[in-house]
């Protein structure tokens, strides 16, 4: 059993003081500790961005991939060894901008992995441009006259794409977020968690206090997590911002359809002398 302290990597996070990423990091560590996962059998896969530096600050295996590409390697690491716990994580620029295609396709595959979007509605590491989740009209460095486009709604996309677990958390409510991440990891199938995360540097118009004022908890609102249409309706709310589990159902997972993976993970296959006798016969 690993404690939260034992999950410290020894490297101090490089985030701005007050960044929502701290809350997400603590919640992620808390979920791993709570579930008793072995750090060397847990892989945190990120993209590139402020939040994507997270593999360096948690003592598990990590893969800091390319900008927008956390999900393809996460998918493959899971398929290569489905006994590992794979958690993909990245920002809203990463997952809803450059990586949106992978986001949607990964949701429809129902792989047994978890995907967390650190959603601060801004590009942080590139010093403050509008992202795909930035609300219409917001003034940023790249949109001095206000963003001309409607924002993407990540939980709605996950629901539309067929995700079997869709949730939203808030980096300012660490116990709640810890529970959501733990539920996501435990869910047998793809788990998507959108995390509201204030960017204290580039989105001063979206402070912790505003989130605290707007959010409410789905579990306290009598929401039925098996009702997809109710989940969609909740995800579409704009006046108040629901957090908690929108949707959770069980469906066969991707690897259930690959019979030979029932015996052992791909990485355990003996490749020292593969017999190609039958294959060769096709060409004789």
């Amino acid at each position: 059993m690993v404690s939260i302290e034992q999950l410290n990597s020894g490297h101090l996070p490089s985030w701005c003081p007050g960044c929502g990423d701290f809350g997400i990091l603590i919640a992620l560590k808390g979920a791993i500790a709570k579930l008793g996962l072995e750090p060397h059998r847990t892989v945190v896969v990120s993209g590139v961005g402020c939040g994507s530096k997270i593999p360096h600050f948690i003592k598990t295996c990590g893969f800091e991939s390319l900008h927008g590409r956390a999900l393809p390697p996460a998918t493959a690491i899971h398929l290569a060894n489905h006994e590992l716990t794979v958690i993909a994580i990245g920002g809203d620029g990463d997952g809803c901008g450059i990586g949106l295609g992978h986001f949607m396709h990964t949701m429809r595959r129902n792989l047994d992995i978890t995907y967390i979007i650190q959603d601060n509605e801004i590009y942080g590491l590139t010093v403050g441009q509008a992202s795909a989740t930035t609300k219409k009209g917001t003034i940023t460095k790249s949109t001095p006259h206000g963003t001309p486009e409607d924002a993407i709604n990540p939980p709605l996309i996950a629901l539309a794409a067929g995700a079997t677990f869709v949730a939203r958390g808030f980096s300012g409510d660490i116990p709640h977020l810890t529970s959501l991440i733990a539920q996501g990891i435990e869910h047998r199938g793809v788990a998507f968690i959108d995390v509201f995360q204030p960017c204290v540097t580039w989105r001063k118009d979206l402070p912790y206090s505003l989130y605290q004022q707007k959010i409410y908890k789905l579990e306290e609102a009598g929401h039925d997590v098996t009702d997809w249409e109710a989940a969609v309706a909740r995800a579409r709310e704009t006046e108040r911002w629901p957090i908690g589990v929108f949707y959770k159902v069980q469906k066969p997972i991707y690897t259930d359809q690959i019979p030979f993976l029932r015996e052992k993970p791909l990485v355990k296959a003996d490749i020292s002398n593969v017999s190609i006798d039958k294959f060769v016969e096709e060409f004789l």
Binding site: H40, R69, P73, L84, F260, A269, I271, I276
Partner: protein, 587 residues
């Protein structure tokens, strides 16, 4: 007198009429009759209509390309007669569907050609369906050659077995009808095939198929691919065997996902590959750099087609060499190998997976459409010993006690012992950022230089004998000319050497397979030796800028004055190589 066991045949028809399938079947029949066979195709990028051809050459000795005119034209439509009759030898024959092609003699400006009209459609219909008219044609070709019908019957049985006995019987009946019709109505054709019995069975396989076979033998267990001609048959063949060999074959949303997936699988310890063409490879380029800096083994098969952009999707070119060598920003080691024929595809596919793990970096296997879809007779590869070498991969047992293990530890050869996710003590970050020995991001100038140097050293671990160029034809001392080529040009080049030999010219071929690491010493030695002994060297490339010549110059300082370049998106012909060589010699 009849010509025995030497046949050139062209089959033509619109797409969707089974030209390729039938061509490959006929080729296989000839091979089962004990001959060595070449089978290659030409088709436009569409599904129905257009004009497809399949070309076959068969001979008793090893051959590697089509040479000479055709003895037989199998015309599934009128256009085939119109387009190809001039390619027939004197006394050559045309088998055509008399139900659909009326008065073919009006299309043909020669009287020596034997016209064999057979009611292919009617016979197919009688056997069970017009769709089998191509099978009737195949039977007819067999009959003309007096080939044993049992060979075809056996093949049809194995091919159609999965569709049930009704389909098998109908196809056999269709083939038999064509066979009997032609055999009865025609006397001895100028070419006769006499079965050579008792020969060890050989394989008839194209470049893509051989790559798949090699990858499977090498223990590849993860394939991520997005369809793109001419690499797509790799995806199909892999997918068709995924359960038999326990391979996860993932059709991805795009090539970006495919490349990033094999990076993930490689980091997790599974031998992984993708296949694509130049356009898809363009999308993989960023991930290539990721594999470079994170030191991840993976194999990318890139079958070149004529570019740029969409280009000529189903036609060939050798214009991605420098692209493959330089793709992705920054500097990192990569391996680029271009096999020259299907057997080399098999062998280099296995090498690719071994080398990728040996040096922990991506390997690009550069094919082209011509090689991907040209089948040759090769030896049964099961007789070739194969060794799986996983380099410095740590076992689970070794990792049990490896406390403080550093994934990117410095070492003399630059190669670090490699752990994989999930092993005890394996905690590290595989990162796209520059990093220290543990994988932690580092922007320290000294660390940066040390890491660049570490990675650069790794390629030296690949033994010289693997990357050495190959030679054929006349020996270094007796050669009058050195012909340099790379990739698929080897196949027509080997035939060109024979043609030149017949004309009394001693030509030597140097075929370069490895572009990175480049066998600079061996190449320079061959070039300087040729310069001193005869001074005649020509390089042949399927691009307009002589990319291999540039590479040779860059790596050796030797500039090959004479380049014969073909960039009409068609493969080299043996005859043109021989002619170019003769011209250069002034003979």
């Amino acid at each position: 007198m009849a010509i025995i066991n030497r046949l050139n045949c062209k089959i033509g028809g619109p797409a969707g009429t089974g030209v390729m399938t039938m061509g490959a079947l006929f080729a296989k029949c000839l091979q089962r009759a004990g001959l060595e066979v070449v089978g290659t195709n030409d088709y436009p990028s569409l599904i129905k209509g257009g004009h497809n051809t399949y070309k076959i050459r068969a001979a008793p000795e090893p051959i590697s390309a089509i040479v000479g005119k055709y003895d037989l034209l199998l015309a599934l439509d009128r256009l085939t007669v119109e387009l190809h009759w001039e390619e027939l030898v004197e006394g050559g024959a045309v088998i055509y569907d008399s139900d659909h092609v009326k008065e073919p003699s009006s299309l043909i400006g020669r009287s020596d050609i034997v016209l064999i009209g057979a009611p292919l459609t009617q016979m197919a219909s009688a056997a069970g369906g017009e769709i089998m008219f191509n099978t009737v044609a195949l039977g007819a070709a067999m009959g003309l050659m007096h080939l044993d019908f049992a060979i075809l019957e056996k093949l049809l049985k194995s091919i159609w077995a999965r569709k049930g006995s009704k389909v098998v019987d109908a196809n056999i009946a269709a083939a038999q009808a064509g066979y009997d019709f032609v055999k009865e109505k025609n006397g001895a054709f100028r070419v006769q095939i006499e079965e050579i019995k008792g020969k060890k069975p050989k394989m008839f396989i194209n470049g893509n198929e051989a790559c798949v076979l090699g990858a499977v033998k090498a223990g590849c267990k993860f394939v991520a691919e997005y369809p793109m001609s001419p690499s797509t048959s790799i995806l199909h063949l892999m997918a068709g065997h995924e359960r038999e060999y326990g391979i996860v074959v993932k059709q991805t949303e795009d090539e970006i996902a495919a490349a990033n997936m094999i990076a993930g699988a490689g980091a997790a310890g599974v031998r992984a590959m993708t296949a694509t063409s130049g356009g898809g490879f363009s999308l993989m380029v960023e991930a290539l750099g990721l594999m470079g800096i994170a030191e991840i083994p993976a194999v990318i098969f890139e079958s070149q087609r004529a570019g740029p952009s969409t280009g000529l999707p189903t036609y060939t070119e050798q214009a991605d060499l420098l692209f493959a060598l330089h793709a992705s920003q920054g500097e990192f080691p990569r391996v680029v190998v271009a096999p020259g024929d299907p057997l080399e595809c098999y062998l280099e596919a296995i090498n690719a997976f071994n080398i990728a793990e040996l040096v922990q970096t991506p390997v690009i296997v550069l094919l082209d459409k011509f090689l991907s879809e040209t089948s040759l007779t090769i030896e049964d590869v099961r007789s070739i010993p194969v060794k799986i070498e996983r380099g410095k991969l740590m076992t689970d047992e070794q990792m049990e006690s490896a406390t403080g293990f550093k994934r990117y530890a410095f070492s003399e050869d630059g190669i670090s012992p490699r752990c994989i996710f999930g092993q005890k003590n394996s905690i590290h970050v595989a990162s796209s950022y520059e990093h220290d020995e543990t994988g932690f991001t580092s922007e320290d100038p000294k660390m940066r230089v040390a890491m660049i140097n570490k990675r650069a050293r790794k390629l030296s671990a690949i033994p010289d004998y693997i990357i050495a160029p190959s030679f054929a034809g006349a020996g270094e001392d007796s050669a009058e000319i050195l012909l340099v080529c790379w990739g698929s040009t080897k196949m027509p080049m080997l035939e060109a050497l024979k043609l030149l030999g017949q004309q009394g010219i001693a030509a030597r071929m140097m075929h370069i397979r490895y572009a990175s690491p480049f066998p600079a010493r061996a190449v320079l030695s061959a070039l300087t030796s040729a310069m001193h002994s005869h001074g005649k060297t020509v390089i042949f490339e399927g691009n307009s800028t002589a990319q291999m010549r540039s590479l040779i110059f860059q790596k050796t300082g030797y500039y090959i004055e004479n380049a014969y370049l073909r960039y009409d998106a068609r493969p080299f012909k043996a005859e043109e190589i021989a002619q170019a060589a003769r011209k250069h010699l002034g003979r």
